[in-house]
């Protein structure tokens, strides 16, 4: 293997020796190399296979637009697929693998696709889907899946950390080439807070890659002087390795800083990447321009690359793309390419200039004017080129230049389209006003002197200006050069997706001439590089094929992100248990002591059941129900939302919020309340108590606690601002436990300091402030969700576990047990109490059997809309009970209800089961359902049809109250 490293020059550390492997082979590179330049220096030109035809591919760019040299970087949980070898900074110990090849890079079975390429023309995917379905599933898809696809993702967790950060600045400068440096300097010298961001490993942009002269120095030396000055200023932040990947509303820029990607493993406490949101008062885009390829035959063979990339490899990385080069293009930059290559001792066989009348000085190189490269010839490397004039030239590499496309992506992220300039042959950025200007070659300034001046002007933005230094300009003249139609081999437009120049006229002929349709039909511009190289060629070919101008065809939509962003950067630190906070109730420790199995409900951890020995959930929950109904049980209900409402107008305010009335509620009493939405549908329910004339405490369901609070704030501030009322969420401040069962009173009595609990002192729906356990303030409510004689006891959160333990001790003689939400749910279904399954955002008060609660005497949220005919229609689905006709049968939640003789189908749907429970009291499954005109149909036998699980039994519609219909136990 021959070394392609040049003897001198370049921004590499020749003393260093970085070991790395590519497909298992060990190589040595230098500090300052990218993986691409290091591979090229080691004579490795074949770096990957293309997506569709599996053609051998090498590097074609030296930057972010690279479509070909995509590799799998690193191993294990750190493996990252589809990384661009041109952007990977080499480090010692780097491990990379090629992609898209099977079984190996050099021998690839998928390359057979190339032979069958008539199958793979434009619209291949659409056309293929029209083949017989069985063919597709059994034959084509498995083969294509195996052979195609890009790199593979690691299935292991990523061991590295990611961060998110905000930054604010007066001026954000994007790009640190000559334009960006001048812009940053102009702004910085005005004392502005400046952020200068560049996707490159090192600041300097094109000045790192090119031979320039600025201010009597080399461009590189000049850039380092400016960077040193910027670095010395306290209000300037330099951000290399930072890609600004999107421009968003409010002049916010998204950025990804690759903090540790250049290291084998991040340093301790450092993230791999940091995701930035940068809010900039104004920003200057100085992203430069991208050199376009030329569509000639074999323009993808390893060794063919952008002329500017070939210069970069020689000037910056001291690597020769080949020992002999043909330089081909239709603009004057090809002459500087030939000059630079010769400067480094690389032999230039010829300059092929498509323009007959080109005037630039070839500097002693053989020039062939008025001809074009029709085909590059070679397999895994270029061997020669055929010209349109019949000439044949042997060479190892081809430098091509189709012209320059300003990198306008960010300037178009908020919807404006770029405009075509027929003289520059480039789409120029749209005018986005002062807050985001574009400067330098990104704005179509093709001369270095123009870039320096434009950067200085846009950076100063009308403020105190700085003078641009003198520099040497390269010649710029250009003629269109998109597609060499004399090509015999495939001429690629989109390298990564293997879309060829021929595909575009074909798409137009088949009716997909709109640029957005042609894009999707041919897949041009749809790969991970988003068409950064060839999209403008595609537009030109489409324009010619359809007789339109470039402007008429227009560009496809530029969307964030400019380059791919890793999921890790988006996720930041919010992964695993850090994804959302965990809310534990004040009784969590107590429940844990009692052996609770917890269930996540929203953010809350709720005790679900309390198994003893080998009980499963059903055995445990059934025992908990039997114990509670037989004696006494205790349940943590702290997750219910609790809102303290105070003020002169507190009662009036609650009257607005609930469909029933609270201003008339007696002090020391509680009332069940139903809240509607303004459209008349039930929103939430709960019990609200009046502790004093001007003091209420509301409860909400667990799920809606935050939403009800926000709704209250809206109702008060936006709708009824005149009401004198304040309210605050006290959910976290109180531990609340339900103590239920015939022995609940005897149990709780032991905790009371003074209160003697009788039906007179604590009647049903009482709400009292008491003290327990020698002075602990508490609230005692006689409420029942279980249907038993029951209480809820609330104590300040920190006393919660202590109080719960005391209740357990007091109830010991009665055989008390803790019960969880499973038992709670069984008991509420036994009693026909509605919950989330019935309060599901589609039901009215009437549907729930609570129509009589709705006041007609006052205004409240939802009053008017609840009266609409559709909401009071008797045929609406209403809450009913459902039980199997054969008590040994099981009914399942979600099953649909059908008339007894109807064919099971959704067309015959009469309603559905909203919740079921195994009732240990009745020894059968019972449920609640929503059923058309249900209250009038008690006793009807229906089919309970669970089509999803293939289950059908007969059920009987009944009263929702399955157990203790007379509510005797409540008052026992």
């Amino acid at each position: 293997m021959t070394s392609y490293r040049l003897d001198k020059g370049g921004l590499i550390d020749r003393e260093s020796a970085l070991r790395f492997t590519f497909d298992g082979a060990l190589h040595i590179g230098r500090a300052g190399d990218t993986l691409a330049s290091a591979l090229m220096a080691n004579g490795v030109r074949l770096m990957g296979r293309s997506f569709k035809y599996h053609r051998p591919r090498g590097v074609i760019t030296a930057g972010a637009a690279e479509p070909n040299a995509l590799v799998e970087l690193r191993e294990g949980g750190r493996k990252e697929a589809n990384t661009r070898a041109t952007m990977i900074e080499l480090y010692d110990g780097l491990v990379a693998k090629s992609q898209n090849n099977w079984p190996s890079l050099n021998f690839d079975v998928g390359a057979i696709n190339s032979l069958a390429s008539s199958m793979f023309v434009a619209g291949f995917y659409y056309k293929t889907f029209m083949w017989p379905k069985s063919f597709w599933e059994k034959i084509y898809e498995p083969i294509i899946r195996r052979a195609a696809g890009l790199g593979t993702a690691s299935k292991l967790p990523d061991p590295d950390k990611y961060e998110k950060s905000y930054a604010h600045c007066d001026v954000l400068v994007i790009g640190s080439g000559p334009t960006g440096l001048m812009a940053a300097l102009a702004a910085a010298r005005q004392g502005k807070r400046v952020i200068l961001a560049d996707e490159g490993a090192r600041l300097g942009g094109s000045l790192l890659n090119e031979q320039e002269e600025i201010g009597g120095q080399s461009g590189f030396d000049w850039s380092q002087g400016i960077i040193a000055e910027l670095a010395s200023l306290p209000d300037v932040t330099l951000m290399p390795r930072t890609t600004i990947m999107g421009w968003f509303d409010g002049n916010i820029f998204g950025a990804v800083e690759r903090v540790s990607d250049h290291l084998r493993v991040p340093d301790p406490y450092e993230p791999r990447q940091r995701y930035w949101k940068i809010h900039a008062r104004r920003a200057v885009l100085a992203a430069g321009s991208e050199e376009r390829p030329v569509a000639f035959g074999g323009n993808d063979i390893p060794g063919v690359m952008q002329a500017s990339a070939m210069r970069t490899y020689a000037n910056r990385y001291a690597v020769a793309a080949g020992r002999s080069v043909v330089v081909f293009g239709g603009n004057d930059s090809i002459y500087r390419t030939a000059r630079d290559l010769r400067f480094h001792g690389i032999h230039v066989e010829a300059i092929v200039d498509s323009r007959k009348d080109a005037k630039a000085d070839p500097g002693g190189v053989h020039v062939i004017r008025g001809a074009m490269v029709a085909d590059a010839v070679g397999g895994k490397a270029v061997k020669s080129v055929h010209l349109t004039n019949g000439m044949h030239i042997n060479c190892e590499a081809v430098a091509m230049s189709g012209g320059f496309s300003p990198i306008v992506n960010l300037a178009c992220h908020r919807g404006k389209k770029p405009m075509w300039d027929a003289n520059l042959l480039a789409f120029l950025p749209p005018d986005n006003g002062e807050a985001f200007t574009v400067a330098g070659s990104a704005a179509g300034k093709m001369l270095l002197s123009e870039c320096l001046a434009d950067g200085a002007a846009k950076g100063a933005a009308g403020g105190r200006a700085i003078e641009a230094p003198r520099c040497r300009d390269e010649a710029f003249a250009i003629s269109p050069l998109w597609w060499v139609k004399e090509a015999r081999a495939k001429a690629f437009i989109d390298y990564q997706n293997d879309a060829t120049a021929m595909d575009l006229p074909l798409a137009a002929r088949e009716g997909y001439s709109d640029v957005e349709l042609a894009k999707r039909y041919t897949t041009t511009g749809m790969a991970t590089d988003q068409g950064k190289l060839g999209n403008i060629n595609a537009i030109a070919i489409l324009a010619e094929a359809t007789g339109r101008t470039m402007d008429e065809v227009g560009t496809t939509t530029f969307r964030p992100f400019y380059t791919p962003v890793s999921f890790g950067a988006f996720a930041g630190p919010f992964t695993g248990h850090h994804f959302q906070p965990v809310r534990k109730t004040p009784l969590h420790d107590w429940a844990e002591e009692q052996g609770a199995v917890f269930v996540e409900t929203g953010l809350w951890m709720r005790s679900s059941w309390f198994p003893r020995e080998a009980e499963d959930w059903l055995a445990s929950a059934s025992r908990e129900v039997l114990t509670t109904r037989g004696s006494v049980g205790i349940c943590d209900v702290s997750t219910l939302g609790k809102i303290d409402v105070q003020g002169k107008d507190a009662g009036q305010f609650l009257d607005k919020l609930y469909c029933n009335t609270f201003s008339t509620l007696a002090v020391s009493k509680a009332r069940y309340g139903l809240m509607l939405r303004e459209d008349g549908i039930v929103y939430d329910d709960g019990t609200t108590s009046r502790l004093a004339e001007d003091h209420y405490v509301m409860t909400t369901t667990t799920a809606n606690a935050a939403k009800v609070m926000a709704q209250m704030e809206f109702a008060h501030q936006a709708l009824f601002p005149d009401l004198d009322v304040t309210y605050v969420s006290v959910t976290e401040q109180w531990a609340q436990m339900a103590v239920a069962g015939p022995k609940s009173r005897a149990t709780l009595q032991k905790l009371m300091d003074e209160l003697v609990m009788t039906d007179e002192t604590v009647p049903y729906m009482a709400a009292l402030e008491v003290t327990i356990m020698h002075g602990i303030p508490a609230r005692l409510f006689r409420l029942s969700f279980s249907g038993e004689h029951a209480y809820e006891l609330a104590v300040p959160a920190d006393y919660g576990s202590m109080a719960a333990r005391a209740v357990m001790q007091a109830g010991e003689e009665f055989g008390i047990c803790p019960y969880g939400v499973e038992a709670l749910s069984i008991m509420r279904i036994e009693k026909g109490h509605v919950a989330g399954g019935e309060l599901n955002g589609t039901t009215t008060a009437g549907d729930l059997g609570m129509g009589k609660m709705v006041s007609t005497k006052k205004d409240f949220i939802g009053r008017m809309m609840a009266q609409r005919p559709g909401l009071v229609d008797p045929n609406r689905q209403q809450v009913v009970g459902i039980r199997p006709v054969d008590p040994s049968h099981r009914i399942r939640a979600g099953a649909h209800l059908l008339k007894k003789d109807d064919t099971p189908s959704l067309a015959n749907d009469q309603g559905y089961v909203t919740g079921v429970a195994w009732s240990p009291m009745l020894n059968m499954w019972v449920g609640l359902a929503l059923f058309a005109n249900g209250r009038a149909r008690h006793g009807e036998v229906v089919q309970v049809w669970d089509g999803l699980r293939g289950h059908l039994v007969l059920g009987e519609i009944c009263d929702p109250v399955h157990f203790d219909k007379e509510n005797k136990r409540l008052h026992a």
Binding site: E678, D679, A710, F714, A718, P721, M865, Q867
Partner: protein
């Protein structure tokens, strides 16, 4: 996007929850003849191109309901007032129209 909360100063949009157009006013009567006005209040919203006043809850901040004025086309935020101030301004305008 930044929202200038009258209580908290300029804060990022992530701290806010939006509810939509603040133009409709809740009818003050429950008279059956007002059904059409209620229907409009609950369901009908303009979708203007340009300036819109929108309810925004500073749910991750001071918890005030605000009315944020924004351009639907450019997403430029012109300013924000409390929903309370907005309501009294609307009331004043309505009274002025009656007079």
């Amino acid at each position: 996007m930044l929202i200038p909360c009258p209580h908290c100063g300029t804060r990022p949009v992530e701290e806010f929850t939006f509810l939509g157009d603040a133009a409709p006013t809740r009818p003050t009567t429950n008279d059956p003849s007002s059904m059409e006005a209620w229907y409009e209040y609950v369901y009908l919203r303009n979708n203007p191109r340009g300036t819109i006043d929108e309810y925004a809850h500073h749910s991750g901040g001071c918890r005030a309901w605000l009315v944020v004025q924004r351009n639907t086309e450019t997403h430029e935020v012109y300013g924000a007032v409390t929903a309370r101030a907005f309501a009294s301004r609307k009331e004043a305008v309505a009274k002025g129209e009656q007079a």
